[in-house]
């Protein structure tokens, strides 16, 4: 009997010893050490690489400084924020975390305690693209330092449009009507669709944003059913879908393959798609970048939008002074840093002065010598600010359902818009 109890005790001690090395002793995720900042971010080749570069830059003046970067996928960062905020224990939050732009309003309104306002941080936010700055500005508080550029671009296969008798310039600064007319010809002469997409409603959101102040789906209150801009966006989408000018893939892999395998004549997406396009090295010299089409008959509509992208947040559990100083000295002021991360990690800045550097102006061989980076930052400067309020996800879901019904079941656009508004209202609890 004693032997038995002894062996169970030994087993439990072994267990404890085995685990003791695995997890750190500290409960708090934010750093206890006054020279270390804990940061939550995702993507080692992009966001985390940029953090490492920023750390090295900051260490030049602060040799004792270090970053403790914990890799979390974005969904997990959201889960952690919600769990900590709901449990009323923010001590597990890091000093800085990365957040997708479209969700700032949702989270900052529900859990303002998770964020630190950067209004008095000394960071000059007018140096960032207006569209991105607006995304992380909630109730007058600036909660995010804009990071990567997510301007929507129209990447075009020069050889395919030329085969149909057009030039790349024919697709620059045009309206959706002109685009559809030209894309019809491309489809007829070459058989290629002019756009492929994955996940339908993204392009609807981009059209809405490009229309600027004429479009808000949230303008004090939900405005979906009687939204004329939204109606036009659905109409454009349906026309393109029906005529085969646009192909929508449910699978992201197929979507990427449609670019890499030469299926499509172009793609409209956030500029972060460039890395996927460039994966097909055999297509070097064939691609060009232009701005997206605009709504011709909507006042104030532009050829610019943005989708995806994220910003740095100083958490409600941060070593605030150090975290702000770090962000101010790196992502909010250093063109040197942006040059480095562009060269090494293809990160395009939303910090406008970055575009003036020699590197941003350089000609990129893959795009036939076009200065794509400078062009993209220039596009970014024109993206109108738009506010989706707290309900981005709910609106997006409702629009997705509407879009599927419209293009696949031939449903009436007006009645689907009404249904989308009803669904969104129900889900939001209005």
């Amino acid at each position: 009997m004693k032997k038995l109890i002894l062996s169970v005790l030994v087993a439990l001690t072994v267990v404890a010893t085995v685990f003791a090395g695995g997890a750190s002793e500290s409960q708090s995720a934010s750093s206890q050490d006054s020279n270390t900042l804990t940061v939550w971010a995702w993507d080692p080749n992009f966001n985390i690489a940029a953090l490492r570069a920023a750390e090295a830059l900051y260490q030049q003046d602060h040799p004792d400084f270090s970053l403790n970067i914990v890799e979390y996928v974005y969904n997990d960062i959201q889960t952690m924020l919600i769990t900590a905020a709901e449990a009323g224990n923010l001590s597990t939050l890091p000093d800085i975390f990365l957040m997708q732009d479209y969700q700032f309003h949702t989270y900052a309104n529900r859990y303002p305690e998770v964020f630190t306002s950067l209004n008095d941080s000394g960071i000059d936010f007018s140096q960032f693209t207006a569209g991105k700055t607006a995304d992380s500005n909630v109730n007058g508080n600036q909660y995010g330092v804009p990071f990567d550029n997510s301007t929507t671009i129209f990447a075009i296969r020069k050889d395919i449009v030329e085969e149909a008798g057009f030039t790349v310039e024919d697709f620059m600064d045009i309206t959706w009507d002109q685009f559809i007319e030209q894309a019809r010809v491309v489809k007829e002469k070459t058989g290629h669709p002019m756009i492929t997409i994955s996940g339908g409603s993204e392009i609807i959101i981009e059209i809405l944003q490009s229309a600027g102040s004429g479009s808000p789906v949230v303008n004090g209150e939900l405005n979906i059913a009687d939204n004329e801009v939204l109606y036009k966006a659905f109409e454009i989408y349906k026309t393109m879908y029906d005529e085969g000018i646009l192909v929508d893939y449910t699978d992201w892999n197929e979507y990427i393959a449609s670019m890499n395998n030469g299926v499509t004549g172009g793609v409209i997406q956030g500029c972060w798609i460039l890395a996927s396009i460039e994966a097909a090295a055999d297509q070097s010299g064939l691609w060009r970048i232009v701005n997206i089409p605009r709504l011709g008959d909507v006042e104030g509509a532009t050829n610019y939008a943005n989708i995806g992208g994220s910003s740095w947040v100083v958490s409600g559990n941060a070593n605030t002074e150090l975290a702000i100083d770090f962000l101010r000295s790196t992502f909010a002021s250093s063109t040197e840093l942006y040059d480095q991360v562009l060269a090494e990690n293809s990160v395009i800045a939303s910090y406008l002065p970055a575009a003036d550097s020699e590197l941003y102006g350089s000609e990129v061989e893959f795009y036939g010598g076009q200065s794509v980076y400078a062009d993209i930052v220039e596009f970014a400067g024109n993206v109108p600010a738009i506010d989706y309020g707290n309900w981005y996800n709910e609106i997006r879901d409702a629009l997705n359902v509407a879009l599927t019904n419209i293009v696949q079941n031939g449903a009436d656009i007006r009645s689907e818009m009404q249904a989308a508004e009803d669904t969104a209202r129900f889900n939001i609890g209005l």
Binding site: P44, V73, T79, N89, N253, A257
Partner: protein, 270 residues
């Protein structure tokens, strides 16, 4: 073709289709691990020559060794403790059962209906209140006692011959010795089944470990796989290799314990 073969043909066709549907994703995963990202997205179904490169990118991108060790250690320890705790509980509920214990068992079974998402915030509140976030206790404690496992052992204990217990008691064996020296050896196949299920659950568990272990050193294989597809650009060849490596240990455990798994689930006493 004989009549019998003809009559069996439809069954074989259905079985072949079903086997294909089960095996094809595994094949695709294995083949994908040897191809470039471009090949995977273009749907190549033949093995390629990119396995070594994928492995190199995987280990340069993620801490594979640490993740593998953490997963193996966590899953092994959780499995051993779960088997110990749940089998004692199941045995107790059945062998010493009375009306109050039966009621308690019903409450435990009701707890099975509560999804983990609903427990997450209260659990987090509890463990952060005890200052136990980032500790192995926070990882292990919620995992080692599951209503399903207790029920499985209770059901098995039902088929355990009570005569053995009576005989052992007459021989002067203590209750704990009866459990360890009589029950466990007889119930090997149930332990085998429980071990397979628990190990797989512990290995694949993602959400809770992710929440309570907030450091890069605590990364497990499912977290590693999640990290592989979090970027703007996903290397699908590397991702497939990551998934393949993540799947292997559970597949090996399952194959080794396949027989006792089937016996254990059906409640066989040897």
């Amino acid at each position: 073709m004989t009549r019998r073969a003809r009559s069996m043909a439809p069954a074989y066709i259905i079985l072949i289709i079903a086997s294909f549907l089960s095996v094809f994703p595994l094949y695709y995963m294995a083949v994908g691990a040897t191809n470039t990202s471009m090949d995977v997205t273009s749907g190549r179904l033949l093995p390629g020559t990119h396995l070594v490169e994928n492995f190199k990118s995987l280990i340069s991108n993620q801490n594979l060794g640490v993740a593998m060790w953490n997963s193996l250690r966590n899953a092994t320890v959780i499995t051993l403790l779960t088997l110990l705790v749940c089998s004692i509980a199941g045995y107790g509920f059945e062998i010493y059962h009375d009306r109050r214990k039966d009621k308690l068992m019903s409450i435990l079974l009701l707890a099975m209906m509560i999804p983990f998402v609903a427990l997450m915030v209260p659990l987090f509140r509890m463990f952060s209140g005890w200052n136990m976030i980032n500790s192995w206790m926070a990882l292990v404690l919620p995992a080692i006692s599951t209503p399903f496992m207790i029920m499985l052992f209770r059901q098995s204990a039902r088929s355990f011959p009570h005569d053995i217990i009576e005989a052992a008691r007459l021989e002067g064996l203590s209750e704990i010795r009866i459990f360890f020296q009589m029950f466990i050896p007889v119930m090997k196949s149930t332990y085998g089944a429980a071990m397979t299920v628990t190990f797989m659950n512990a290995w694949n568990n993602y959400m809770w470990p992710r929440i309570v272990l907030q450091s890069n050193d605590s990364i497990t294989m499912p977290m590693l796989v999640a990290n592989l597809k979090s970027g703007y650009v996903v290397d699908y060849g590397m991702l497939m290799l990551g998934v393949l490596i993540c799947t292997l240990p559970t597949a090996i455990i399952f194959l080794c314990l396949q027989k006792s798994f089937a016996n254990g689930i059906t409640g066989a006493v040897k």
